[in-house]
């Protein structure tokens, strides 16, 4: 992964020292809350229902074991012994004291971590494919470009006070694991017929109150022109994005208002003015690329007899392998997904002990590499097949060997009304109730891929718009109600879900999901996923079944 240099470290030290001073001035009364709030938010510190919440940046979802252990230690020392991984691949601590925050930032800085770009109207942490550098599908390593974007965007003076927050996703594989089409800017690396590398540039996607699948404004941007083109987009947005209405301030609203064609015309005109002066020199790109070049792979046979024998004698390992192992580009290796969706647990939560267990396994078996996914899971991207049984045993001992990746109980849920000051309804208990319905792993496997995503309010941190089944908590006449949508997807076949019908009360949501799954199992053909069946049948059979009681 990218190694901080002395400039990076000095920048962090300056920043934490500055924040320490700001906190002291707030506690002494020198700063009012109105003055201080934007300063603390620029350092990832929110006030939630029960305490302050510190959102720690995990740039493009990449961690090393030392960093993971530090997060575990902070969780144990300053929180209640756990952390919560988010849909932006960051980590949130939910029980933080303001007076401790400067010390925590100092501790984070010792392992090259911080809370910059986790809040405020700036360019936020970039989401990248969690399989980067490990999947054979990719045409290049997206982390190289994500890191370049990070360096470009951090404290960028022109883009630190945008009309609203701004989120990038970047992938280099046709299978999109980043939800690129529902980001402010989605970048998909492609290789042209002549071998040249370029980006499909998608702008103006988003979720929240007004969801959009982003249109492509350029099919193929030469890779070496990335920075100037991004600067042109941000400049058009910064100039014309609405600052009078928070709900209409995201770039998606500007793109929709101008129309894709006119927006693109303005970007291209701006790009022509900028020229290539801000583009990354090849030498700098090579420097960054060098940090991601991994040379530690052994030459191994594609099949591991050790692993095959272990699977044959251990059905739980075999099930884990079926669901949580993904193909690696190197023979004899696998990508191991670690589910943070234990049945009955809080989606995305990991205890300090679990974080340490993952750090140990990454160090021993995973080439010191850990990833966070936007689906609130972790990944060990480089594990030898010979070592998978040992990794599974370690995960099992830590209580995080749940074999449910991409299955019905692998649910995204925002913190919801249990923690969040913005929420209207709880999301976590809904996820827990649904997961309980599918506790039987045979049934969950029979159902197959089914992505359920739950948000506790319209801001859509739980990505409900792009859930195969999306669940949105609303406040209906003072009660927690939930609107269900079907047919959404955040992947390469991106789509916004369509409404199932009237909102359901809290206690009926898990049963409704159960009913939806039964309809799917009844209707599905030839190995269709839930999403495929829904796209073929439309909403009618699902709607009839869920609302049968009401008729």
């Amino acid at each position: 992964m990218y190694q901080y240099d002395t400039v990076d470290r000095q920048m962090l030290a300056d920043r934490t020292a500055e924040f320490r001073g700001q906190v002291a001035r707030r506690l002494s009364g020198e700063l009012t809350e109105d003055q201080f709030k934007r300063l603390r938010l620029m350092n990832g510190l929110y006030l939630q229902l029960h305490a302050y919440m510190l959102r720690v940046a995990v740039p493009y979802g990449s961690l090393n074991p030392t960093q993971m252990r530090k997060l575990a230690w902070i969780g144990r020392t300053y929180d209640k012994g756990y952390g919560h991984f988010t849909t932006r691949t960051n980590l949130q601590f939910h029980w933080i004291r303001l007076k401790d925050a400067p010390d925590i930032l100092d501790h984070l800085a010792t392992v090259d971590m911080h809370a910059i770009q986790t809040s405020g109207n700036c360019i936020r942490n970039v989401t990248a494919d969690p399989y980067a550098g490990a999947t054979a599908e990719e045409v290049d390593d997206p982390r190289v470009w994500a890191e370049a974007l990070r360096q470009w965007s951090t404290f960028h003076p022109e883009f630190s006070l945008l009309p609203r927050k701004f989120k990038f996703a970047i992938t280099a594989a046709p299978k999109d694991r980043t939800a690129a089409r529902v980001h402010d800017i989605g970048l998909v690396l492609r290789r042209a017929r002549d071998g040249a590398l370029g980006f499909e540039v998608i702008v103006g996607g988003g979720m929240g109150r007004t969801p959009y699948i982003g249109p492509t404004i350029r099919e193929f941007l030469p890779a070496n022109r990335l920075m100037s083109y991004m600067e042109a987009i941000l400049r058009v947005y910064n100039r014309h994005g609405r600052r009078d209405n928070n709900y209409k301030a995201r770039i998606k609203i500007l793109v929709a208002a101008l129309g894709t064609e006119e927006f693109t015309r303005q970007v291209e005109a701006e790009w022509a003015k900028i020229g290539d002066s801000v583009d990354l020199p090849d030498t700098e790109l090579a420097r960054i690329r060098g940090a991601f070049t991994r040379t530690g792979f052994e030459t191994l046979p594609a099949r591991s007899e050790v692993f095959e024998a272990a699977k044959a004698s251990n059905p739980a390992l075999a099930r884990f392998a079926r669901n949580n192992l993904k193909p690696h580009k190197k023979p004899g290796y696998a990508i191991v997904e670690i589910s943070l969706k234990g049945i009955g647990e809080t989606p995305g939560d990991a205890t300090s002990e679990q974080m340490e267990a993952v750090a140990d396994l990454a160090e021993r078996y995973g080439q010191d590499d850990i990833r966070v996914t936007h689906e609130q899971n972790l990944v060990l991207p480089h594990v030898k097949l010979d070592d998978v049984a040992a990794v599974w045993a370690g995960l099992h001992a830590a209580g995080i060997a749940t074999p449910n990746i991409n299955l019905v109980s692998d649910i995204i849920a925002c913190p919801g009304l249990d923690y969040c000051a913005l929420a209207n309804a709880r999301a976590i208990p809904i996820a827990q109730h649904i997961a309980e319905k599918f506790r039987d792993p045979d049934r969950a496997e029979k159902v197959g891929e089914l992505k359920i995503k739950i948000s506790g309010c319209i801001n859509a941190c739980g990505h409900h718009h792009v859930g195969h089944i999306g669940i949105l908590g609303v406040d209906k006449k003072g009660e927690e109600f939930y609107q269900l949508t079907l047919g959404g997807s955040g992947a390469e076949d991106a789509a916004l879900g369509s409404s199932l019908g009237p909102a359901l009360p809290y206690e009926k949501v898990a049963d409704a999901v159960d009913t939806l799954v039964d309809v799917y199992l009844r209707e599905r053909q030839d190995g269709e996923r839930f999403l495929d069946t829904f796209r073929r049948t439309g909403v009618t059979p699902f709607k009839e079944a869920v609302y049968a009681d009401a008729h």
């Binding site: 009012t32 006030l47 933080i96 208990p429 827990q432």
Partner: protein
């Protein structure tokens, strides 16, 4: 009935007003009748304590099992702690008032919070 709540500046903890002091347990909160002008007066005093608390607002209460409980679900979660971790937050202490809050019905938008947002 009404109570006055806020978050403590230093740690963000949920606190309630009692006779000029901020206390941590809802069970200890001072309660006022809906039309008691002392509630608004206390709110004014609370808001003047900018180095002690933030987000000061009055909340509506309802009766539950012989006790008073916050009307809104949101305020009951604040007074108790997150429902996914029953051992986190003030609910861990247990007791009759905590149980009354856990059993309370009548979820509603937090009226005081709405006023707070509007004022911003």
């Amino acid at each position: 009935m009404k109570a006055l709540t806020a978050n403590r500046l230093t740690d963000g903890d949920v606190v309630f007003w009692k006779d000029g002091q901020w206390v941590e347990r809802f069970a200890d909160a001072q309660l006022w009748a809906d039309d008691d002008p002392a509630a608004v007066e206390a709110e004014g005093h609370g808001k003047a304590q900018g180095t002690t608390v933030i987000d000061v607002y009055l909340i509506d209460l309802i009766e539950s099992e012989g006790f008073w409980a916050p009307l809104s679900y949101r305020e009951r979660i604040r007074a108790l702690g997150p429902t996914n971790h029953p051992h986190h937050g003030k609910q861990a202490e247990g007791g009759a008032v905590v149980e009354a809050l856990q059993h309370a019905h009548g979820a509603a938008r937090s009226t005081g919070r709405v006023n707070l947002i509007k004022r911003k």
